[in-house]
């Protein structure tokens, strides 16, 4: 029908066609320098198996995704519940919930690179003056922890956003239900488990999907803070795909990896939807 027409035109031209073209590009060798595709069949896809960097990046991406969801969904929920409570100064926090999300990613990279710097970061200063750490903690310089730190940085951005979304869902819970539960002397815990949580399930599902999508796309903070290092411990698939496509100029191989990033996100999203339906 006519109403749907502009949308469909837009989506087809700008999204569907490029995606299909991208799929075709993965079967080609194409360099950014001349943009002339040469058909090579499934070569790019077969290369993935023997590319150790791809395997490292893919592993890091999955770890990142799982950690990110595990941290930011409960965190967002907790924060959302918090700002749902009535207390003085609530509006300050509510007002600043969108601040992290609105911050450009480069600024986030500068922020956290600075604050967690082992040389002159305030966190290390506090840890050392409180006597908790005797030497500066290598937050981003340690191959084991750099990725986790990046997850935390991403969470800083995501948790308030999720809290925001949870808050609106919480506001929609009918108050009569809560009141009657209180009358029946239901404890806070039970109230949460039987009333709040079921109401929040669809929001949790959509937030989990959102978390997945946001985490696979993390890019600017990696470039700005660690640049993939130390070693390749903060190489995610998206980062490696970008490096391959633009600095290294191999668009065909890069498109292949970019596609896989999309596939990972889609698989995760379907998994979440399935999980919440079964419940």
């Amino acid at each position: 029908m006519l109403l749907l027409l502009p949308f469909f035109v837009f989506v087809t031209v700008l999204m569907a066609y490029p995606l299909a073209y991208s799929a075709w590009l993965t079967l080609n060798d194409i360099e950014l320098t001349d943009l002339k595709p040469t058909f090579v069949g499934p070569d790019n896809w077969l290369r993935l198996g023997s590319d150790p960097v791809f395997i490292t990046s893919a592993t890091n991406t999955v770890i990142f995704l799982l950690l990110e969801v595990a941290i930011s969904i409960p965190g967002g929920l907790a924060l959302g519940l918090l700002v749902n409570e009535n207390f003085r100064g609530r509006s300050i926090i509510r007002g600043s919930l969108l601040l992290p999300w609105a911050t450009p990613p480069i600024v986030m990279a500068v922020m956290f690179g600075f604050i967690f710097s082992d040389q002159f970061g305030v966190v290390n200063y506090m840890l050392q003056s409180l006597g908790i750490a005797s030497r500066p903690v290598m937050f981003f310089a340690s191959p084991q922890f750099a990725l986790i730190m990046l997850v935390l940085v991403a969470s800083w951005k995501n948790i308030p956003l999720f809290a925001f979304i949870f808050l609106s869902a919480l506001q929609n819970i009918p108050t009569e239900l809560m009141e009657s539960a209180k009358v029946y002397k239901a404890g806070a815990f039970n109230r949460f488990r039987h009333i709040t949580f079921p109401y929040l399930k669809p929001t949790m599902a959509s937030n989990s999907i959102l978390a997945a999508i946001l985490s696979v796309q993390v890019f600017d903070v990696i470039v700005g803070i660690t640049n993939g290092g130390p070693g390749r411990s903060t190489y995610t698939l998206y980062f490696y795909a970008y490096l391959t496509s633009f600095p290294f100029l191999h668009l065909g191989y890069g498109a292949t990896m970019a596609y896989i990033v999309g596939i990972i996100a889609v698989i995760f999203a379907f998994g979440v939807l399935r999980m919440y339906k079964v419940d």
Partner: protein, 520 residues
């Protein structure tokens, strides 16, 4: 609204349609006004367009003819001048303002600096050139870029300029940046090598008489000055991927190694015996004498600040550190500068060069005016003045002159900080190869990641370099298919007696210059 309907306050249908139409028109008009305002604002911010290029055609026939100097435009024009962010050329220095001076002397020319990060230039160039758009009149180049994009640049001889002066006077290390397959494409601007710096204040304190002559001596001196409990480390360098490759090269050359094989593909051999030893050296010095955070330190951010504050004693970086010593905020007042010492009995020294220049893309609007500007960039005034007056800012990286003759300039010889020039010239007599080739970005990323793995301890140096070799073999094979090899190897030229004697001749000028600077 709900109330309106339910209480019947909504107007009747024909009036409603009238209101609708009016409202529609009002909104439509509003959108149009906003759009027009935005478009106007946008166009207002455009640089003023210049008149079309003059009809004086550049001499495209035989370059050997002595054509009269080509005519530049008289009417006001804007030259898009693309430069790399670390060439803070565009950021007119406190004392010497190269861009302002040029615009003063050529009042019809407006220079519009467009700045990209070094890591971004390649993809921006690739996009602009394949898109075939007019982008820049003057563009930053270095060896790896020129080798890929030579077809998009105009050789200087095509513009009617004889390049014999450049050819005879240019220091071979810098030639890479503007020369490819028999043609010169531009003028050099950056000529810098890594040097070993030493905090003289601390060294004097600890009774260290001078700079080490061998790598073994360096390690000994490190042991003497290393004092982590007081917060002073012996050695510092920037090891974050993106900055690690040059450090690796210094260690490689100091171990007598060479990164390329002498075959048609110029195969990259990160797993050679010398290379593995180099990585072992880096791992060793990191473990014992460096701040652990240095594995992710950026050379001119964390490392240089650290050096300036006297938190490490020996530093490996471009000469710009020395100027930092003159900063009022610097805790270090006296500083040594000398060549990077090689392994005893293996190599006297070795380093790595950053050689860059500017060239003229084929799509330039005003090639002759671009050339005039390039000549200004390459003349002694600019090369020497920029170096001795420039870059006292924390971000500064003013390079040394690129021509042999510039080094006979009395301004350079009598400069209070000529010790850096001396060290620089001395260093260039040794292997300072940067191994520039089209796939440079990819190859170095592979090597850096593996060296970083070794430093972090997740792989042994041997394993890491073996993995690096596996990766680079693939990259080199693809590169060879596209470009066919034949990449320039300046070390072969520099080794020759004729070039070595030119360096020695220059060094005579600096005979009485010490290898340190003593500040107050």
């Amino acid at each position: 609204m709900t109330d309106e309907i339910s209480t019947g306050k909504m107007k009747n249908l024909s009036e409603q349609k009238g209101t609708d139409r009016r409202r529609f028109l009002k909104y439509g008009a509003g959108v149009v006004v906003v759009a027009a305002a935005a478009a106007a604002g946008y166009y207002a911010l455009q640089p003023a367009p210049g008149p079309p290029t003059p009809t004086t055609t550049a001499a495209t026939t035989a370059a050997t003819t002595t054509a009269p100097p080509p005519v530049t435009t008289a009417a006001p024009i804007t030259l898009n001048f693309m430069t790399a962010a670390h060439h803070d050329f565009y950021y007119d220095q406190e004392s010497y303002k190269p861009l302002a001076i040029y615009m003063q002397n050529n009042p019809n020319v407006k220079l519009n600096p467009i700045v990209y990060s070094f890591f971004d230039v390649q993809s921006k160039m690739a996009s602009a050139f394949t898109a075939g758009i007019y982008a820049w009149d003057v563009a930053y180049v270095w060896g790896a870029l020129l080798e890929q994009f030579d077809q998009y640049f105009t050789p200087l001889t095509d513009l009617g300029w004889s390049t014999s002066q450049i050819a005879s006077d240019i220091i071979p290390w810098v030639q890479n940046a503007i020369y490819w397959k028999g043609q010169f494409y531009g003028y050099p601007r950056e000529n810098e090598v890594f040097l070993l710096h030493g905090n003289k204040d601390i060294m004097d304190e600890k009774g260290v008489a001078g700079m080490p002559k061998t790598y073994e001596e360096l390690l000994e001196l490190c042991k003497r000055v290393h004092d982590p409990d007081k917060g002073v480390y012996a050695f510092g360098a920037g090891l974050q991927p993106g900055y690690l490759f040059p450090v690796y090269l210094c260690f490689l050359h100091g171990n007598g190694g060479y990164l390329w094989k002498n075959d048609s593909q110029q195969t990259v051999v990160p797993d050679s015996r010398e290379s593995v030893r180099a990585v072992e050296d880096i791992v060793d010095i990191y473990k014992h004498y460096m701040n652990p955070g240095a594995i992710q330190w950026i050379a001119d951010v964390q490392t240089s600040t650290d050096f300036l504050q006297g938190k490490h004693v020996f530093d490996l970086w471009f000469p710009s550190h020395n100027k930092v010593a003159l900063q009022p905020e610097s805790a270090m007042k006296s500083v040594y500068c000398d060549i990077w010492p090689g392994r005893k009995g293996v190599a006297d020294s070795g380093s790595m060069v950053a050689a860059e220049g500017y060239a003229i893309p084929k799509k330039a609007k005003y090639p002759q005016d671009a050339l005039a500007f390039l000549k200004y960039v390459g003349n002694a005034d600019n090369q020497v003045e920029c170096y001795i007056t420039g870059s006292w800012t924390p971000n500064g990286q003013a390079p040394l002159p690129s021509f042999f003759s510039d080094h006979n300039d009395p301004r350079l010889i009598n400069w209070p900080f000529a010790y850096t020039v001396k060290a620089h010239v001395k260093q260039q007599m040794y292997n300072c190869s940067r191994y520039e080739r089209p796939a440079y970005t990819e190859i170095t990323a592979a090597i850096e990641a593996e060296v970083s793995n070794a430093i972090a301890g997740t792989k042994t140096p041997r394993q890491a370099m073996s993995d690096a070799r596996t990766a680079t073999d693939k990259i080199v094979a693809t590169e060879f298919e596209r470009f066919g090899g034949g990449y320039f190897e300046p070390w072969k030229t520099v080794q020759q007696d004729s070039v070595q004697s030119q360096f020695k001749a220059i060094l005579k000028n600096f005979e009485n210059v010490p290898n340190y600077y003593t500040g107050k």
